[in-house]
Symmetry: C2
Subunit: 336 residues, 2 copies
């Protein structure tokens, strides 16, 4: 008479010779159940290999918020910290965190839309899905917070102040006497990158210099920076400072310079962005911009829960800090 279906409370109750309420009580632990009864129920559970259905459970307990955070690629060290901050905040509220790395999957748009159906709200990072997908999310009325990307509709955005820091960093290079700056990275591939590029342009313009050149990379990893910069050096382009879109690309750039016989920072200044842990341990230690990653994550979670609660939330821009080490020329020349 064992039914072929998955067991449920009823099956277990029947087998133990009790009611479903008693089974539930045994499960919840705290309730008072006669020792003998408890035994029988536990035996039945064991015999049937039963695990309570988490969905039914959560439904009955009317609880269990779930939120998601969407990234392009988890492999940037950058993201890890953001997720950490996000999780910290979320766990305190006993909500579950789903993490989706779209990672250049071609169906990322569908994945995100799909994900949106399974959670109570989500944070979407810049560069993960096309604007049209964000608009679709917005239209589906799922509570939404945008990270490192301009606001859309009523969805608030949280960002680091890329523009201002880029201006500051570029100005710092100029103060070291550098005059021919290039941007290493692809400004078009993410809102963050675009803003850094714009900041660089702005600083050069303010100094009366011509518009800097862009050396496009195929991605954000060290190898991409290495390959692109080496090609540019071999092409004979002249420049004395490389403003990289992030630290990883910068590490590739430093090595490219080295293998081309250039010494950093004497012959070529190199800067990064993000201040990943290894940045301080590159040779030379990398000048970069530190973003408040943890806070970005934590605050985005905070904003999201506000949205879920139905409240309006203003967009937010967090300050960043210029971290000068040696790759820009500090501690070598006395410029600045």
């Amino acid at each position: 008479m064992t039914s072929p279906r998955r067991p449920n409370v009823y099956t277990v109750a029947e087998r133990a010779g009790v009611s479903i309420a008693t089974v539930s009580r045994v499960l919840s632990g705290g309730e008072r159940v006669a020792p003998d009864t408890r035994r029988r129920v536990l035996d039945a559970i064991e015999a049937l290999q039963w695990r309570p259905n988490r969905l039914a459970r959560a439904l009955a307990q009317r609880g269990g918020e779930a939120v998601a955070i969407v990234f392009t690629d988890l492999s940037g060290l950058y993201y890890a910290q953001v997720i950490n901050g996000f999780e910290q905040h979320t766990i305190e509220r006993r909500a579950a965190v789903l993490v989706l790395g779209t990672h250049g999957r071609d169906d990322s748009e569908r994945l995100v839309l799909d994900l949106a159906e399974r959670v109570d709200g989500l944070v979407v990072m810049g560069g993960t899905v096309p604007d049209v997908a964000v608009a679709a999310l917005e239209a589906s009325r799922v509570p939404l917070v945008l990270l490192a990307r301009p606001p859309v509709g009523s969805a608030p955005a949280i960002r680091a102040d890329n523009r201002r820091s880029a201006v500051e960093l570029a100005a710092h290079l100029l103060a070291h006497g550098r005059r021919r700056l290039v941007f290493l990275g692809d400004p078009g591939s993410s809102p963050d990158g675009a803003e850094r590029w714009e900041g660089l342009v702005e600083a050069c313009a303010a100094a009366g210099l011509p518009r800097p050149a862009t050396v496009a990379t195929d991605g954000f990893e060290p190898e991409h920076g290495h390959k692109a910069l080496l090609r540019e050096l071999e092409a004979g382009t002249e420049f004395d400072a490389v403003f990289c879109v992030n630290d990883q690309v910068a590490s590739g750039a430093i090595r490219a310079a080295g293998s081309f016989g250039l010494e950093v920072p004497r012959d070529l200044a190199v800067t990064g962005w993000d201040d990943i842990p290894i940045a301080a341990h590159l040779v030379p230690p990398l000048t970069t911009v530190r973003q408040p990653m943890r806070e970005l994550g934590a605050r985005s979670a905070e904003m999201l829960f506000e949205r879920i609660a139905g409240r309006a939330v203003p967009s937010l821009t967090l300050p960043t800090a210029l971290i000068t080490r040696q790759s820009c020329g500090c501690g070598v020349d006395q410029g600045g």
Copy 2:
């Protein structure tokens, strides 16, 4: 007459003057509903600001598996790839992925146990929670797969072949003529680390050398490697090769050597572990061991779903590859 509670299908149906079935049909999109009716329902949804309850929905559709993967700390580049592989596989099955970074939280044990209640299965990585917690999970009968950690009870484990690769790497250093090797890292803090250390010991023993020393680090980041090695150098300990627990620590070690006036690899060989993207771009490029991270993630997901389906799964050890670059002495001396 608007009820103060959250709206649900009934509220919406009532307001639109239709039955709940019709509301559901409008929601699912595909069903045929008269245009006029659809309009009214959509208006009602809009007016009430209704979003269907995902739990009820998933329950009724009897779908929506969810699985989790538990890490210590997401900030190792190592983990990102594993998660990627895991996610890839999981998404194909339309299951949701929860990611938990215990990150040294003191209540990690509670968090994991808690998490286990909300998912259909989980992968737990070595070093995240104490053995006793793993045993508790095992006892709670949640489908479980262990990653980079020895099997427990009926829970299968998936690992990279640390021991063998460590022997190989150590032998490689010995072949370069190095004789005084030290281990930089804390063998006790993770099963992976312990196995690497044991492999090193084994290789030295096989070569008739004394047991190598351990230089303990406080963590796995560059700064930890830097600090620990610098202290050791200043203490006057002598050695000609540093076998690091991972690439990040190795990057700190390289810089420590540099700031102590030692040239790598001439005066001191340094090796890492993991082959993170930046490893090839350190100066000198780092000799390390590549683990099949993506595969580790993908296979663990596969194993997990087998377990969820109630099938037994054997443990698995995947091979690793020694990546020789220059930090070990290759391309400099001709030893080996």
